[in-house]
């Protein structure tokens, strides 16, 4: 906060802060740095966001299985407290770093930068980041990845897209997961797809079943991997 102007009235001081102290902007600058560093090492990075239980970890497991021949992969897992998800992914033979977020409900570019310091960028080509389960906050904090993915599942009801327009405005790819349950939940995935494209015309959509692996190929294509 360099550009400040003091207006002194007796003992009372008003500190006027010039533009440039945008709190979200600070994160964005750090994200830009992360992206430059990753690009320099030819590492592609993907941020996977979505509500609790949408199927982020299952999808990452499937992505890792499908891509580990082609890329050397590392996974970052943002978690409030546990390492359960990290163990699930580690089983597939890739490096997993858990980022404990404490009480923060999202990852930010700063914690990702510190995690990047813990791995060797020469030894990987693809970095997949599982964000904290939360459909709202992570969207405002880019991490410096090439692609930002939002995973929703049909069990979240027909209004999750229209209720969170800003989340989807920040996404490059939307995954509609648990397609096997769509009929039971009376959800028309085409309708969800139409809604998200209304909000963000250039978003790519993949409809998946993360348990069977159906649609994962489509997702890989959407991620340009």
């Amino acid at each position: 906060m360099a550009n400040t102007k003091d207006v002194i009235k007796g003992e009372e001081v008003t500190l006027e802060i010039q533009p440039g102290m945008n709190i979200l902007e600070v994160n964005k600058k750090l994200a830009q740095k992360n992206m430059e560093l990753l690009r320099k090492h030819n590492v592609k990075a993907i941020d996977i966001m979505g509500s609790i239980g949408a199927g982020k970890t299952c999808l990452i497991e499937k992505l890792v299985q499908a891509l580990k021949q082609k890329y050397r992969i590392a996974v970052f897992k943002g978690d409030l407290t546990t390492t359960i998800d990290a163990e699930r992914i580690r089983r597939h033979g890739v490096q997993v770093i858990t980022i404990n977020t404490g009480r923060e409900c999202h990852l930010d570019a700063n914690v990702v930068a510190r995690a990047v310091e813990r791995i060797s960028l020469e030894a990987i080509d693809l970095l997949i980041i599982e964000n904290v389960g939360n459909l709202i906050c992570p969207a405002e904090f880019p991490l410096g990845t090439d692609k930002r993915v939002v995973v929703v599942s049909v069990t979240e009801g027909p209004y999750m897209v229209v209720k969170h327009p800003f989340t989807f405005m920040n996404a490059d790819v939307m995954v509609i997961n648990k397609k096997d349950l769509a009929e039971t939940m009376k959800i028309d995935t085409k309708q969800l797809e139409k809604q998200v494209k209304e909000i963000k015309p250039d978003v790519k959509v993949a409809v998946t079943n993360a348990l069977s692996g159906e649609g994962v190929e489509e997702l890989i294509k959407a991620l340009e991997l």
């Binding site: 500190l15 709190i23 250039d202």
Partner: protein
């Protein structure tokens, strides 16, 4: 988020050697998930044990502006008012050429000023 705002204010107040903070002015873009009511609510709880306790919070909201790189449109963010959705939904679809536009304003979360007693 509100935690981060308060930390920044406290940090600045400390730098200035303030005894008490009496007023904070924020600018919040309407294109963020931050609702003024939520910010206000958590602000009042979070300042409880700090020198910001009892300070006045003034929030100015900033409208969303989008810009289209395909046709050059720049203006307020359009909304779709499909009755099937029950609520107007903001969209990044350019109102002139229907391609995808980008948000250029309305994503700020800025501390504009802090009034304090030294």
């Amino acid at each position: 988020m509100t935690t981060q705002i308060i930390e920044s204010v406290l940090e600045e107040a400390k730098k200035q050697g303030a005894k008490k903070v009496i007023e904070v002015q924020l600018v919040i873009g309407k294109m963020t998930f931050l609702g003024t009511e939520q910010v206000r609510f958590s602000y009042n709880i979070l300042v409880e044990d700090t020198i910001m306790k009892g300070s006045k919070l003034i929030i100015e909201e900033k409208d969303g502006v989008i810009e289209c790189s395909s046709c050059g449109y720049r203006g307020e963010i359009p909304v779709v008012d499909d009755p099937a959705y029950h609520v107007p939904i903001p969209t990044l679809r350019c109102p002139k050429c229907a391609k995808a536009a980008k948000i250029v304003e309305g994503k700020e979360c800025t501390i504009r000023s802090i009034r304090m007693v030294k």
